[in-house]
Symmetry: C2
């Protein structure tokens, strides 16, 4: 029975990959940068995103956000306070978002009017790693409160990410967090990955993070022929 | 295809429930209290367990622990330092432990010699909630660093727990954690649940937590006729 389930799951993943590929082509053609944020519950995805959306809006960028949750629309309401279009995706108990959910929730938005589309995934270090959402950039967040060992314990999600952000850096001392060890552990499972540190509370590292977004927007959203 | 997967998943769950029921009878007959610890990654299951195992050993109790992880045996090694039998269960990428895994890993232990058996589940607030491991007591941990809203966002895991522990209470002030709101949110999804606060670092709340274990051991492990 297990083998049959694995087979069917693989089928679902393949179907998801196919939808994700089509979605990525559509988003690329519309010229926006799509970012999928993944992390444990409570790592601070919403707090970082709140500050990011607000700052990008002040800088004149047009942004939008999709927020996945099993229950509640708390995060969507928190993000909507930044004054940008936000939609809640209720996963009905599923531990991850899927490409079809993203596609469905974009249907009445003019995606070509956005510079950035942020997707806040369900808080989970396991399941979301297998689901391509058609994003250009997958960002994995690790907070200083979670411990330095998490990249080794959940390698797939770190391995599938393009950028890692160590959040709540303002709490590093209180948590006796060892940044060097954590960075070495991230590097061990995903050699060469860019590692940023941020605090959504103090604003530390926000300039580098916004610079990273800008860099990737330029790199990935410029048509190949004009690069 | 989705309906078919749900059907098969339900079959697996039913099979798990059946194995869990048999396992629970076996553990009860052996007279030990079995505790399943569930939480997000980085909430501090291992740190609390380390301190718990050490203290129980000093008090003359016989304990053992099973630790589920997708990768690495770091936690098992940390727990083994408490000088009690510990086994690692590698879930091979699965986001939860299952009753059969527990049963398999108990086969060469004399379970009747233990007073307490602790199971540290995979760090995940979604998947482990559906899998009965044959435990007597399910404990859900929430750290002050994760935010007060998590019980509302992940109601199933809080709803299926017998006791909730708010961990890392020493960091409450640094995290501007509102204990009252968090407790109200836990109470909202699981009315009447006992809520404890602990710090594995300072030892705060350990007496109440050990008292809670003792209480449940007495309540649940005394044969009905002699209660």
């Amino acid at each position: 029975m297990e083998a049959r389930v694995l087979e069917i799951r693989k089928g679902i993943l393949n179907k998801n990959d196919e939808i994700a590929r089509g979605l990525r082509r559509r988003l690329q053609a519309a010229g926006l940068l799509t970012i999928n944020l993944v992390s444990s519950p409570g790592t601070g995805k919403t707090a970082l995103l709140q500050r990011t959306l607000r700052t990008l809006r002040e800088q004149g960028y047009s942004t939008a956000a999709l927020v996945g949750d099993l229950e509640t629309d708390n995060d969507a309401r928190r993000l909507a306070a930044a004054g940008v279009p936000v939609k809640q995706i209720n996963t009905n108990g599923r531990c991850h978002l899927e490409a079809q959910m993203i596609s469905d929730h974009l249907s009445d938005w003019d995606i070509a009017s956005f510079d950035y589309l942020f997707i806040e995934n369900v808080g989970n270090l396991v399941c979301p790693s297998s689901y391509d959402l058609g994003e250009e950039l997958r960002i994995v967040l690790l907070s200083v409160t979670e411990g330095e060992d998490k990249p080794l314990k959940y390698p797939n999600i770190f391995n599938s990410a393009d950028v890692a952000i160590i959040t709540k850096i303002d709490l590093a001392e209180a948590c006796e967090f060892d940044l060097e060890t954590a960075s070495a552990n991230i590097e061990a499972v995903r050699p060469g990955i860019q590692i940023l540190t941020t605090s959504a509370k103090t604003g530390a590292g926000m300039t580098e993070w916004l610079g990273c977004l800008e860099h990737h927007k330029h790199e990935r959203c410029t048509p190949v022929e004009s690069r």
